[in-house]
Amino acid sequence: MAMNPTNGCSLHIADLSDYLDTGTSPDAAHIENCPQCHARLAGLRSLSAAAHELMDDDVASATSDAGWLDGILASLRLETRAGRPIPLQGGPDDELTETEGAVIALVRSVGDSLGGVLIGRCRLEGEVSVPGAPVEVRIHVSARYGYPLPTLAQQLREAVWAQLLVHTELNVMAVHVAFTDLRPPLDEAFAQESEDFGESGRSGGPAGLGEDSE
């Protein structure tokens, strides 16, 4: 059988797999000239090709009963992330707080409503649990191509600041906006892609694309 080395070729199948994975091997010179190694490499290549086909099939059949994931996600009943308690002024006998998680969700919602903006990580820096303590807000933002970033940053800062003023009693000293990701413009390709987003993920954009703070 071709997979079992005989007649002088003692190279192990694991070495050939490594060679296939990395493209290099201390035995490269031998492999180049060994008919048995060639045959075994061909076997490994067709195994790898068949494995890809099988996996594609498996993924397709894993998607065939639409709704299975909805069931699982619904059953998870994901807990919300509270974070630190942030005090609010109540009556004399009240102890009123809102959670850090709720404030971050507010920032996300304000930012997402601006055209071209998608909010990433948001951090409240400072002693948010101490009334009046200075707090700085740091926001990661993904912007769509075509929006002028300085204008976008300014709009975002103003909108976030205004809503924090209405909904919290935080003493906001600064809102820092960092564009960490850019998304391509909306077009037909995207419209199609959005219906088929199970296929493959996109890798993150360049980190630290630009920072703009006030």
């Binding site: 490994l44 067709s46 494995a51 998870l76 409503s113 998304r183 892609e193 993920g201």
Partner: protein, 189 residues
């Protein structure tokens, strides 16, 4: 507050890293989007790692629950796919261990219910079908290594950690599984 009608579209378009950041901050919609992006792959993977489809769905559910709990601690959001796959591996391996402590079934019999039907085999004498059949006959310890490597994309070191065996054993099991699989595929042809 103004509602954003195009939010789902924006999220569909978002990078893994951004979705992971948002999910880490508690955004359920972003987590759902990640689950939709990788859920089918997680399920396909789990189905090859455990004994039945029901068990696979339990594994995916557990894995997603764990992922939601721990995603805030994920350092590199762009690696969320391989992170999810590792969680599935761990859950699937745990399931196998639990099952073993409850019964003394032989490894070989565990895959019996996944043998392709004669109809399936008749569909095509393709390499893929041959592989599927050969895979079900592989000893479970070898099959697991192979699936962790080929479907999960785990490194030798990661596989060794997940299975609690040495890297040398991982290399050995992978080599044996590949020899067997290639031979069986060639015989099928």
């Amino acid at each position: 507050m103004e509602q954003q009608q195009d939010l789902p579209h924006k999220l569909a378009d978002a990078s893994d890293a951004l979705l992971a950041e948002r999910a880490g901050d508690g955004d359920v919609a972003s987590f759902d989007m990640l689950a939709r992006r990788y859920g089918p792959l997680m399920r396909a993977y789990a189905r090859r790692l455990v004994r039945s489809y029901d068990e696979a769905d339990d594994v995916v559910q557990d894995a997603l629950f764990t992922a939601w709990r721990d995603i805030a601690a994920l350092q590199d959001g762009s690696a969320v796919k391989s992170w999810l796959m590792r969680i599935v591996s761990r859950r699937a391996v745990d399931t196998g261990r639990r099952r073993k402590t409850h019964s003394n079934l032989e490894d070989q019999s565990e895959t019996a219910d996944r043998e392709p039907t004669p109809e399936q085999l008749a569909v095509a004498g393709s390499a893929r079908r041959a592989l599927e059949k050969a895979l079900t006959r592989l000893p479970e310890e070898q099959r697991r290594c192979w699936v962790l490597k080929e479907y999960g994309g785990l490194s030798y070191t990661e596989i060794a950690e997940e299975l609690g065996i040495s890297i040398t054993s991982v290399r050995g099991r992978l080599a044996r599984s590949r020899i067997t699989l290639v031979q069986e595929m060639e015989e099928w042809r």
